[in-house]
């Protein structure tokens, strides 16, 4: 049965490889991408989402001669599966109108899905790594289609770095335990295991764009195809955190680290890194003018919170982290898709060149607005509950450095949220000739917005979904009903918020209804008495260098970033390589001398 899903996905990817028409390919891959969803729904009966069951088995051993791959679905994998595979059909729906021609997006996307499915089902390290590399390879090919030098180089080099780090970690673990099965691996607090855990977490952190290893993200996110980037930021970045969760809690790496350093310093450093990447990512985000780069930095920031949760490690924190991961998967995909829809109509990426799109594309704007509420953790969507849990956890553990950084980072989120809203959607109406995005795009975006609303009102369902994963990992769960989460420090009642909001809306609504108003064109503006037409040739759109004042203050501190560090490293390597190439003088007599010298040296080394 599982083999069937794998083979179906692979077959679909091979079929779409030869379908030139994008629509057909989209339909095929949409159907194919529903298979994992069906599997997830089916497994849900065990893990907390009871809809229906057709009895899909939960584990399989696939033995391809000489090497056995063990697959089995755990509660954790199921939760991440819910997070990731429910993203894909809407994205495919979006791509239906995004790609007229099949330029190779669909086959490799399906290949990617297969790889992700494999990673989630893997129950030994070989399988995990094999599918991890498949994921890296196929996503690299998708990046490669973006045709951007920096993106290609940075993505490939960082993927290889992460792969080799993970592989070394696996090898160390294997040399310690002599087994690759998760179930048989038993960690002990020795330096080999600890270094293995740290290496693997570093490797996974690359994929989830954690701060020192994030340098690839802005280039890749800003150049690849939108639907893929939506999945890259929404889905693939979570795979890194899946791996981290696996290392830290499922195979209890956190405990090992704690024993080894006999303090929580290691996990505290992880949390601190997460908080710092949330902070710096936010600062970089609202100074960015390229919409996709802005969203890339915002992804770095939002993903940082998850690392904070894992670093803190209490049940509250991990619940919050998983919740945040779920939210981020959805709202960030919507934002990237909305950016794609806007570009699909206007063909522009620079925020300072866009403007007034909302009047022509109201539904795209609505979707983007809701996901921005979720991004800024405003309690109109489920975005708030996650961050709230994280703050509660941080405060209750008395983390006096991390909590303010997290809070101020999320305040900074308002800044770039407004920059997106104003610069792209509001302000001067510059695009009179465009119309609303095609129906499939809008439908895809709204499908992705749905969960944000549902889990606003019933965060309890989310906590139920992650319950068994947390219990299996030996982490307690947060006490909650369907709509009240209560921690040691306070409780958060979503119904109170929603109902209170409805009640509080009454006066505003009365004012709005009772006093009639007349709609006028935005051109009828206060421009110190000047009519708009006089300014017709000047931009009335104040989106250029939007945050200049604060940029002037902050830039001196932010200029020496990680990216510049990597560039410096790259240039240094270049210099080294030039010196090394001096060895090859091109003169055969030199080479002959090399041979003689070599002979003498090894002779001497061997004999004496």
């Amino acid at each position: 049965m599982l083999e069937l899903i794998f083979t179906a996905l692979l077959v679909a990817s091979f079929v779409t490889l030869f379908v030139k028409n994008g629509r057909v390919a989209a339909v095929i891959s949409l159907i194919a991408s529903l298979l994992p969803v069906a599997a997830i729904i089916d497994w849900g009966n065990e893990f907390g989402l009871k809809i229906f069951s057709f009895g899909l088995e939960k584990s399989m051993d696939f033995s391809i001669a000489g090497i056995t791959m063990h697959f089995s679905v755990t509660a954790l994998a199921w939760f991440f599966g819910v997070m990731i595979f429910f993203l894909i059909p809407p994205i495919m729906l979006f791509s239906y109108s995004f790609f007229e021609k099949n330029r190779g997006f669909f086959p490799f996307m399906l290949f990617l899905i297969t790889a992700v499915f494999g990673i989630l089902l893997a129950s030994d390290f070989l399988t995990l790594f094999f599918f991890w590399e498949l994921m890296a390879a196929s996503s690299f090919i998708l990046v490669y289609m973006g045709r951007d030098r920096k993106a290609i180089i940075s993505y490939l080099s960082f993927s290889v770095l992460s792969a080799v780090l993970i592989l070394t970690g696996i090898a160390l673990i294997y040399s310690q335990n002599g087994t690759l099965l998760f179930s048989n691996v038993a960690f002990s607090a020795d330096e080999v295991t600890v270094s293995a855990i740290i290496l693997m977490i570093a490797g996974f952190a690359v994929k989830s764009a954690l701060m020192p290893l994030h340098a690839w993200a802005p280039f890749v996110y800003s150049k690849a195809d939108e639907p893929f980037v939506a999945f890259l930021s929404g889905g693939l970045s979570k795979m890194g955190y899946y791996g981290m969760f696996l290392m830290l809690f499922a195979l209890p790496g956190a405990k090992i680290l704690q024993q080894y350093f006999d303090s929580t310093v290691a996990t505290y450093i992880l949390a601190l890194i997460g908080a710092i990447s949330a902070f710096i990512g936010t600062l970089l985000a609202f100074m960015e003018d390229d919409l996709r780069k802005l969203l890339a930095y915002s992804s770095i920031a939002q993903l940082g919170y998850i690392a904070v949760g894992f670093g803190i490690g209490s049940s509250l924190a991990i619940t919050g982290a998983l919740f945040q991961a779920f939210n981020h998967a959805f709202f960030k995909s919507v934002l990237f898709l909305a950016a794609g829809a806007v570009a699909y109509r206007t063909g522009k990426w620079k925020i300072s060149e866009l403007g007034g799109v909302a009047y022509k594309m109201p539904f795209t704007f609505m979707a983007a607005l809701f996901s921005i509420f979720a991004l800024a953790a405003i309690p109109i969507t489920s975005g708030f509950a996650a961050k709230w849990l994280l703050y509660e956890a941080a405060v209750s553990n008395k983390y006096i450095f991390i909590t303010p950084i997290m809070l101020i980072a999320s305040v900074g989120a308002f800044l770039y949220s407004f920059r997106i809203l104003y610069g792209v959607f509001l302000g001067e109406n510059r695009h009179d000739d465009i119309k609303e995005a095609p129906l499939p795009m809008v439908a895809g975006m709204f499908l992705l917005v749905m969960p944000l609303i549902i889990f606003l009102i019933f965060p309890g369902y989310m906590l139920d979904m992650m319950h068994s994963a947390l219990v299996n990992a030996g982490i307690g769960t947060v006490s909650h009903t369907n709509y009240v989460i209560s921690t040691g420090m306070a409780s958060y009642n979503t119904i109170a918020v929603v109902v209170g909001m409805m009640i509080a809306m009454i006066p505003a609504f009365l004012i709005y209804v009772l006093r009639k108003h007349r709609n006028i064109d935005f051109k009828d503006n206060f421009l110190a008495g000047e009519p708009y037409e006089i300014y017709g040739h000047i931009s009335m759109h104040a989106a250029n260098n939007f945050y200049k004042p604060i940029e002037d203050v902050l830039m001196p501190y932010l200029r020496k970033g990680a990216t510049s560090f990597y560039m410096a490293l790259y240039n240094a390597m270049g210099r080294v390589s030039k010196t090394v190439r001096r060895i090859y003088t091109g003169l055969s007599q030199d080479y002959a001398i090399y041979v003689a010298v070599f002979l003498l040296i090894i002779m001497g080394w061997l004999i004496w």
Binding site: G356, A358, Y359, A376, I378, P379, K387, W388, Y391, E392, V395, K398, T403, P404, L407, I408, V411, G412, F414, L415, F418, L421, Y422, L426, G427, E428, M489, A490, S491, Y492, N493, A496, V497, G500, M501, I503, M505, P507, A508, I511, Y512, R515, K516, H517, R518, N519, I520, F522, D524, N525, F526, M540, H541, A542, F546, Y547, P549, I550, D552, V553
Partner: protein, 314 residues
């Protein structure tokens, strides 16, 4: 059922009173500033008159549905915030949420306001919103640090709880929180957009910034929102540092009245303080304000936080 209805009635009553108090404070504020300027100033009920005039304007113009969101969001958000703040010891919905929730609820009206300003398509409005948001980023840092200090000290994040725990001794009596309160008061100055931090709505530079295009009912609702913010922020401060103005703890009717009166006096005190600063200071440029908050204020706040931390762990 009955007590549920009573609770609803109490909530509605308190919220209405809070909004009225806010509108009254606008008049009082103008009066105070006028007295500082050695003027007579408007009558204290001027706020009511202004809002009445704006709401009864004959023509109201709108720039489209996103522009109307400003009206809806701002008023809704501020009332919702007041619902979650204990007023005079009466925790309306205070037990259903906590300080973080209040912080983020306060962002709803701000964002709605910003949406409307952006939708008005006036460049001045955009610049004003930019300044307001940067100001927000600036003052939030010291303010959240002081708030975290309180949470760590009282080991709860619920404002109602914090108010309860200050029965014996108001937070401001405790040495580190004197420092924290001073910091938070300067943050309050920024929250209320009073000088020296009133650059976001500087009338003569950017034509009163975000509300440059607002008039009629929209401006009226924004003035209601302003009134609400005055009450909300001052109440937040009073709840956090001055025990919510609770002096009598027996559940008698008298205690409610007294507590309410004390609460009123305290927020009036805080508001007057900020107005006096407002009336006697020039304006910071936006980056100066940012530096002020992130260098000195944040440093002081952090000192108090560490102080509290040491007190707690020892």
């Amino acid at each position: 059922m009955v007590d549920f209805l009573i609770k609803i009635a109490v909530i509605a009553l308190y919220t209405t009173i809070a909004m009225l108090v806010g509108i009254l404070f606008m008049g009082i504020g103008r009066k105070i500033v006028a007295r500082v300027h050695n003027r007579v100033g408007p009558p204290v009920y001027q706020g009511f008159i202004d809002i009445a005039k704006l709401l009864t304007k004959k023509t109201n113009i709108s720039h489209g549905w996103i522009y109307d969101l400003a009206l809806l969001f701002s008023l809704t958000g501020i009332i919702l915030t007041i619902l979650f703040l204990p007023i005079g010891g009466v925790k309306l919905l205070g037990t259903e949420g906590d300080a973080f929730l209040v912080l983020y609820l306060l962002a709803i009206p701000a964002l709605g306001f910003a949406l409307g300003a952006g939708a008005s398509g006036n460049p001045n409005a955009a610049i004003g919103v930019m300044r307001a948001l940067v100001m927000m980023l600036s003052y939030e840092l010291p303010f959240v640090i002081t708030m975290i200090a309180l949470m760590i000290y009282y080991d709860t994040s619920s404002i109602a709880q914090i108010v309860e725990l200050q029965r014996a001794r108001w937070a401001i009596m405790i040495p580190p929180f004197m420092l924290a309160a001073a910091v938070a008061d300067m943050a309050l100055q920024g929250m209320l957009m009073e000088a020296p931090f009133d650059i976001p709505t500087a009338p003569h530079e950017i034509a009163s910034g975000p509300m440059a295009e607002f008039g009629g009912k929209h401006l009226g609702s924004l003035m209601l929102y302003k009134a609400g913010t005055i009450v909300a922020y001052t109440t937040l401060f009073v709840d956090l540092f001055l025990g919510g103005g609770v002096v009598m703890h027996d559940g008698s009717i008298l205690s409610y009245i007294v507590n309410f009166a004390v609460w009123f006096l305290l927020i009036l005190l805080i508001f007057t303080l900020s107005l006096l600063i407002n009336a006697s200071f020039p304006r910071f440029r936006i980056e100066q304000a940012f530096k002020f908050y992130w260098k000195y204020e944040a440093l002081l706040a952090f000192i108090s936080l560490i102080w509290v931390y040491l007190m707690v762990i020892s």
